[in-house]
């Protein structure tokens, strides 16, 4: 038997599970563990002899581990990832085999049950009065027993195992219900004298029909369940199967499992990138849409990061592998989506509690219901008691209740992932649907977070090119974000920079240096004033215009004469305005927070249509602002791009982190937007609302089956309306309740996330 592994990463070291071959004695364990512990970087090695697996943690990498085991005289290989395509295919094959088995079981039991039911309805009644009838029904009883054995054996063995284990489950109810109906019918045939004439009625058709219908329900549910996990399948299919690795100057195609960190990998146009890495050479555009939801390909060149699963569109790239196997961003995303898909929002927990106590409670209700019928029911009391107890047991299965939440969450979380929104758990899914106020950090959230040169004003006979060339040369020694913007601007114009000397940063004012014989000065008004550089009214007015437009103007002087103004701004993302409008359109109060000054904050807020904003706030102030909103009974969503927003993200009811496809801050927030666009926020809110609505529909459906179905089955409507549910109807209702829930959850797959 081949063990599989659930792999868990920790931040400091990796964990590997090796499959060991050739270890046949207990003493091998110590030998293998010692060999592994001697490998450099191994923190912990523990072998499970029963399974022939060894779990190793450390920073060694997997190859030295395999070598160590080989040298100790055994064979080892790394166990396969749980989320790889092979595992998925294997799962599909086993599901398919189980589906076929259920359908076969269903055909056998309905093949017997339907003719019997039709006979009872249209030809004769199911009572036993003559010896000939007794014999005929005995034969039918034996045939039904055969159906119970061949088609329903799994219910009875499951019920017995469960009983032995002091637990009760769906099998318990089915086994009790069908078993009671069959046993009662056999008593009618074998010892009819025990029962009054009116109660000599057999229920073999109920037994066969119930087994058939429940098998059919399970088969259809299995099919529908398969569709709910399509998002995961699509993500898994994003993984490349092979990679072209450059080893010893040769390019070889190898399975991606064999790609190691620091391998150089070539990816040709049209190919999928196999592992995460950093581009060493080449230039190309890469389609990251399946990972981030962002439709426009991203340009990649030397130094840029590439992610597993994305598609190289145009040129050839060579990159160095940085994260492989289960550590790639894609593998992490798959893992996170899987986990989130199984975590339940609070709305589902009530159903859980009920499901946990349901089965024994139903057994008690069945007994009490039978007793009531026996004591105060009409004749034949025994028959009524048997029918009501059987029906209660059959209709009560809480499977639909158990499925109501997970099925919807599975589809909803997958749907969000397809749109580049990673929802971390069920709780944040539910809270996101209730958000009334959304706090947005400005820099990096509403804006790009990367300042760019927006305007260059040349004065005193200098050209724009002169200004940007000299200013960029001066700033090439600075690491300030504004300096980077100026240098990047020169580079984008293919302007060569000059060497500078005597560089000096003047705190809070600007920078100075020399280029050749020229002295250069770049900074604010104060710096110019201190150095006696004259600023005309016109120049000051121009600078103020820039400031009102949320740009940072810098004065540039050459040899103590003003040569120009360079304005730098952090541009607003293209779709921020539309996304904010979408949020406001959903009745969400949008608030902006920024550490920037009042004027810039106001300019940005005006541009994107936010009325409520707070400028010059520190990280601690952001937390306080969130608290203030919460005190006003708002359910607060906080969106930020990382470290300085972390406290406020944690304080908010739901924290949204702006990540990127390559460096996903998936551990830091409740929900991560893998692309930069704020549309992700509106998408997340829309998906969560749709999911919670779907869960409510499911819970309603499931509760109706159980809460309304049980009293009707017990006979509550009989005294007034004369209605007593047939066990066959109960069987059908029970079988299709789960199917209804799964099918309704599947409707979510058609929910359109993108409305922009």
């Amino acid at each position: 038997m081949k063990p599989s592994v659930s792999h868990h990463r920790c931040d400091s070291s990796a964990e590997y599970e090796l499959l060991i071959d050739g270890a046949n004695c207990g003493s091998c364990v110590k030998k293998i563990e010692t060999a592994l512990r001697n490998v450099q970087g191994v923190d912990h090695a523990e072998m499970n002899f029963a399974q022939r697996t060894v779990l190793v943690s450390g920073s060694s990498g997997v190859e030295p581990l395999i070598n160590a085991v080989e040298q100790a005289g055994y064979h080892a290989k790394e166990s396969v990832a749980e989320n790889d395509e092979a595992a998925m295919t294997e799962k599909e094959a086993s599901d398919q085999a189980y589906y076929k088995k259920l359908m076969r079981d269903m055909s056998i039991s309905l093949g017997v049950g339907i003719p019997l039911m039709l006979y009872g309805l249209f030809i004769g009644d199911m009572s036993v009065s003559s010896p000939a009838e007794r014999f005929a029904w005995l034969v039918v009883g034996i045939v039904t027993l055969a159906v119970m054995y061949f088609s329903g054996k799994h219910f009875y063995t499951g019920a017995w195992q469960s009983f032995k284990n002091h637990s009760a489950n769906m099998d318990t109810l089915i086994a009790l219900g069908t078993g009671t109906a069959w046993l009662y019918s056999m008593v009618v045939i074998i010892v009819p004298a025990l029962l009054p004439d009116m109660a000599r009625h057999v229920y073999f058709e109920a037994t066969a029909m119930i087994i058939g219908l429940i098998n059919l329900g399970l088969a259809l549910e299995l099919k529908a369940r398969g569709r709910t996990s399509e998002a995961i399948k699509r993500l898994i299919n994003l993984q490349a199967k092979t990679a072209r690795v450059i080893r010893d100057g040769n390019e070889v195609d190898i399975p991606i499992e064999q790609v190691r960190i620091n391998d150089q990998v070539r990816v040709r146009p049209g190919e999928r990138i196999a592992v995460d890495g950093e581009v060493l050479e080449g230039r190309s555009s890469v389609d990251e849409s399946m990972l981030t939801g962002e439709p426009i390909p991203v340009e990649k060149t030397q130094g840029d990061l590439v992610s597993a699963g994305t598609i190289n569109k145009s040129g050839s790239l060579v990159f160095v592998a940085k994260r492989v196997g289960k550590d790639t961003a894609l593998a992490n995303i798959i893992n996170m989506v899987k986990k989130a898909q199984n975590s339940k929002p609070p709305i589902g927990r009530l159903a859980d509690v009920i499901a946990g106590y349901f089965v024994p409670t139903i057994m008690i209700i069945a007994v009490i219901s039978a007793l009531i019928w026996l004591n105060v029911g009409p004749e034949p009391t025994v028959a009524f008691a048997i029918v009501s107890a059987t029906t209660v047991l059959i209709i009560a299965c809480p499977c639909a209740l158990g499925l109501a939440t997970p099925m919807s969450v599975m589809v909803g979380v997958g749907k969000a992932a397809e749109a580049g929104v990673l929802i971390r758990n069920g709780e944040s899914l539910q809270t996101a649907s209730q958000i009334t106020a959304m706090v947005l950090d400005k820099t990096g959230t509403i804006t790009l977070g990367r300042p760019q040169v927006t305007d260059i004003v040349a004065i005193s006979g200098y050209s724009e090119e002169d200004v940007i060339r000299l200013a960029a040369s001066l700033e090439s020694n600075s690491e300030h974000p504004l300096a980077e913007a100026i240098v990047a601007s020169a580079k984008s114009r293919d302007i060569a920079l000059s060497d500078v000397s005597d560089f000096n940063a003047i705190t809070g004012q600007g920078v100075e240096a020399r280029v050749g014989e020229q002295s250069l000065l770049l900074g604010n008004k104060k710096l110019m004033k201190e150095r006696g550089i004259e600023l005309s009214e016109q120049v000051i007015e121009q600078a103020q215009v820039f400031a009102r437009e949320a740009k940072s103007p810098m004065y540039f002087a050459v040899d103590n004469t003003l040569a120009g103004i360079v304005a730098v701004a952090d541009p607003i993302k293209d779709d921020s305005v539309a996304a904010i409008k979408r949020l406001q359109g959903n009745g969400i109060r949008v608030v902006m927070l920024t550490g920037d000054n009042q004027a810039t904050a106001k300019a940005v807020a005006d541009k994107v249509g936010i009325d409520e904003f707070y400028a010059e706030v520190q990280p601690q102030d952001k937390v306080d602002k969130v608290k203030v909103l919460q005190d006003e009974n708002e359910i607060v969503g906080m969106t930020g791009d990382g470290i300085n927003d972390a406290p406020a993200l944690a304080q908010a009811n739901v924290g949204f982190a702006i990540g990127t496809g390559t460096d996903v801050a998936i551990e830091s927030a409740d929900i991560t937007l893998m692309r930069g666009s704020l549309h992700g926020l509106a998408d997340a809110v829309a998906v969560s609302k749709a999911t919670i609505r779907n869960i409510k529909q499911n819970l309603f459906g499931a509760f109706i089956y159980n809460v309304a179905g049980v009293p009707i089955a017990a006979g509550l409507l009989y005294p007034v309306f004369g209605i007593l549910l047939s066990p066959v109807v109960a069987g059908a209702a029970m079988a299709f309740s789960s199917l209804t829930v799964v099918t309704n959850a599947n409707r979510l797959r058609f929910f359109k996330v993108k409305e922009h």
Binding site: M1, E82, G158, Q161, H166, K344, A355
Partner: protein, 117 residues
């Protein structure tokens, strides 16, 4: 009739005792312990693990029913897919003393982790 009623009441009592009051035998988790998932139950289903110490449990799923696939330990936000006819190792964090439920997605398969010395 009163005999039948008495039998019914006793039957109700037995249900309460058997399913709610009875504590199944505990099994201590060790590295060779394999929890089988078959016929709607986890065997063993009442497992003792040491406190404040990360441990791992190995599940062997033999039950093809889809409900058997997911193993959830809600208290620790653990959810693992159990592969049919294979061993799946599930890693548990260091846990404080107490009793924690593990179950399938539909809560039909249930077990208890007892964290104690």
């Amino acid at each position: 009739m009163w005999i039948i009623n008495l039998v019914g009441v006793v039957f109700v009592g037995l249900i309460v005792w058997w399913f709610w009051l009875y504590k199944p035998n505990e099994v201590k988790a060790n590295k060779d312990l394999i929890i089988t998932v078959e016929n709607g139950v986890y065997s063993p289903s009442y497992i003792t693990v040491p406190p404040n110490q990360a441990v791992s449990l190995v599940f062997n799923r033999k039950d093809p029913a889809p409900c058997a696939e997911q193993l959830l330990i809600p208290e620790f936000n653990i959810s693992e897919s159990l592969v049919l006819n294979q061993h799946t190792r599930v890693h548990l964090p260091a846990m404080p003393t107490g009793e924690y439920e593990f179950h399938c997605q539909m809560k039909m398969y249930k077990g208890t982790l007892r964290v104690s010395e």
